[in-house]
Symmetry: C2
C-alpha cells in the first residue's frame, strides 16, 4: 500500500504539502494540487485509518452497544441497529457493533482505547451500569431508551406513557369498558426495562380515570409459551373486548391464536399493538398499532451524537431528553365492542 510519503515523492513535493493539497487546509497552487491529486490517484492512495486517528484523535467510527437477551424478541432490535448504521454512514461514520454480554466492560474497552468517537447505547435499563462509564468517558454518547437518571446524557425514546394513554383512549372512545394489556415478560422488567411499566402505569391510570377495567398481564417472548399465554389470557377474561399489546413476540403470535379460537378481529376483539410499521409488514400483522419508530430513534440519536462529536460548541450545549410522540396507525383492527 502507498503512503502519503509515496504520493509526495511521486508529485515532487514534501509530505506536508501533499497533506495540505489533499485536505485543502492551506492554500496550495493549482499546479501542485493537480500533481498531488494525480499522484494519489495513480498510487490508489488511501490514508491509513490508524495513523490518522493517532494524529487527529478522530476515528470516524461510532460504537453501538446492543444486547440480545434470551427473553427479548431479536427481530425488533434489528431495526434500531439499521437506523443507526445507515445514519452513521450518511454522516461519514462507520459503526462498531458490540453485542458483548458485559456491556459495561465493552463500553470501557472501546472508549478507553479510543476506538470510537462516540457511542450509542441501546437496551437501556433503569439502573444501567454502563451509564456511569459513559458519563466519565471522553467521548459523547447517546441513548435509545430512557434510564432512571438522564443527567449528563442525550436520551431518545418513544413516549411510552402517552402511548399507553392513546391506546386506552382510543378503545374507550369506541365504547370498550374492559381491556387486557399484555406487556413484556417479567425478566425484562426486572432487568430494568422501564418502558414496560411506563406504558402500563400510564394506561392503568388513564383507565382508572375513564372508569375502564384494565387487566395488565405479563407476556412471554418465546414459543410455545406465548401461545399458551395468549390462550390463558383470553380464557381468563372472557368479557374483555380489547387487547393492548406492548410485546412484539405476542403480537407476532396473535394471528394464529385468533384463527385457532375462531375469533375475528375487530368484530369479536379489538386489538392495538406497539411496534414499527416495518415490523408489521414483515410479520403481516393486521392490527392497528402505535408506531415505535426505531429507525427514527436510531437516526436521531446518531445525529445528535455526531453534532457533539464534531462541534466543540455543541459539546457544551445542555443535554436533551427527547420523546417521539406515539402515532396510532389504523389498520382497522378496532371497532365498537360486542360481547364475545
Amino acid at each position: 500500500m502507498s503512503t502519503i510519503g509515496d504520493v509526495a515523492r511521486e508529485a515532487g513535493v514534501s509530505r506536508s504539502t501533499a497533506s495540505y493539497a489533499l485536505s485543502g487546509k492551506r492554500p496550495i497552487s493549482d499546479e501542485v494540487r493537480r500533481r498531488v491529486l494525480a499522484a494519489a490517484e495513480a498510487l490508489a492512495y488511501t490514508p491509513n485509518a490508524g495513523a490518522r486517528a493517532l494524529a487527529t484523535s478522530e476515528t470516524m467510527v461510532l460504537g453501538l452497544l446492543a444486547q440480545f437477551h434470551e427473553d427479548e424478541f431479536a427481530p425488533a432490535m434489528l431495526q434500531y441497529i439499521l437506523g443507526v448504521t445507515d445514519t452513521a454512514r450518511d454522516l461519514g461514520y462507520d459503526t462498531l457493533l458490540v453485542t458483548e454480554a458485559d456491556g459495561a466492560r465493552a463500553l470501557r474497552r472501546i472508549t478507553d482505547s479510543r476506538m470510537v468517537d462516540g457511542v450509542v447505547l441501546m437496551n437501556i435499563a433503569q439502573e444501567d451500569p454502563r451509564l456511569p462509564i459513559l458519563r466519565a468517558a471522553p467521548q459523547p454518547g447517546a441513548l435509545v431508551g430512557l434510564p432512571g437518571d438522564c443527567s449528563g446524557l442525550d436520551v431518545f425514546d418513544l413516549d411510552f406513557e402517552e402511548a399507553g394513554r392513546v391506546m386506552v383512549d382510543h378503545l374507550h372512545r369506541l365504547g370498550h369498558r374492559e381491556l387486557v394489556l399484555i406487556s413484556q415478560p417479567d425478566h425484562v422488567v426486572e432487568r430494568g426495562g422501564a418502558y414496560v411499566w411506563r406504558l402500563r402505569d400510564a394506561a392503568l391510570e388513564r383507565a382508572r380515570l375513564l372508569g375502564v377495567t384494565l387487566h395488565a398481564v405479563y407476556g412471554e417472548s418465546r414459543q410455545p409459551a406465548v401461545g399458551r399465554l395468549l390462550n390463558g389470557v383470553l380464557d381468563a377474561h372472557p368479557s374483555a373486548t380489547g387487547l393492548l399489546i406492548n410485546n412484539e413476540a405476542v403480537a407476532a403470535a396473535l394471528p394464529s391464536v385468533t384463527y385457532q379460537r375462531g375469533l375475528r378481529v375487530p368484530e369479536d376483539l379489538s386489538v392495538i399493538g406497539r411496534y414499527s410499521a416495518e415490523f408489521a409488514a414483515t410479520f403481516s400483522l393486521p392490527y392497528s398499532f402505535i408506531e415505535s419508530a426505531p429507525d427514527r430513534l436510531g437516526s436521531m440519536a446518531v445525529r445528535q451524537l455526531v453534532r457533539r462529536v464534531e462541534s466543540p460548541a455543541a459539546r457544551n450545549e445542555p443535554f436533551v431528553v427527547r420523546f417521539i410522540s406515539p402515532e396510532l396507525v389504523s389498520l382497522k383492527s378496532t371497532a365498537p365492542p360486542r360481547p364475545r
Copy 2:
C-alpha cells in the same frame, strides 16, 4: 487519558521497558514489572488503539459486510450477524458492521484504510462485485454463502443441493407424489442468490429420478403479497400433498394461511421448511425444517478468518470451501399423504 509514557514515568522506567513489562515480550525483572503493572493500574492505562494499530499493523477489528435488501427477510440475517460478532469477541476481535448499499465501495474503504484485519462477507451473489476487491485486498476474507467462483477465498455455506434432496427424499419415502417448492422471490435470484436455484435444481433432479411431480414456484417476501401467493399456490395445485419452503418469509406466513383455509398440518398437508431452530422458535413455526445453522456458519467463517489473520503460515494454506450438511429437524409436520 494516560499514555504509556505516563506509566513509564510513574514507574520510573523508560517507555520501552514499560512496553516490554506489559507485553512480556522481553524478560523484565520482577521488581520492575510489579512497579509498571501498579502504575498502569493506578493510572487506568489503556493502550490507544490507533497508535497500536499504526505500530503493529493489527487493529483487532473484523469487518462484517451485510446487506439488507427490501425483498429479503431481515430477521433471518440477524442470526448470521450474531454468530459473527459473538465468535469474533471470543477470539478478541471487535466487529465493524457495514450495511452500506454499495458493498464494493465499502469493502474498498475499510480494507484500503486498514481499519480491519479481515472481513466476513454475507449475502454472496453468484457474480459478486466485492470478490475481486477482496482477492486483491491485503487482508484475508471469508464468505458466508457460495459465489460462482470460489478461487482464492474461504467459503462457508449450507449444502443447499443436499437440502433439496433431503426434503424430496423424506416426503417421497412417506408416499408423497406431488409436491410444491416455494423459493425466494425472483429478484433474489436475479441479484445472484445462487442458493435459491441450488436447492431448487437439486430438488427437481431428485424428484425426476424418483418419479415425483415437483412444482417449483417463486415466493414473495413481504406481506400481503406472501399471503396471496400462498393461497394462489394452494389453489393452483390442489392435488399436491407436500410443501417445501426455502423462504423464511413464506414459512412465517404459512400458519395463518393454513388456519384460514382450514388445512391441518400434517393431516392435510405435509410441510418442510429451511431455516434455523432459533428462527423456528422465534416465529413459533410448527414445521419440520432443514437447519440452516446461521450461527455455526458465521462462527466457522470467523474462526478460519482469524486463523489466517494471526498465523502467517495459515495465510498460505489452501483455501477451503466447506459445506454444512443439512440436518432435518422433525417437528412432526409430515405424514403419509391424504388427498385434500
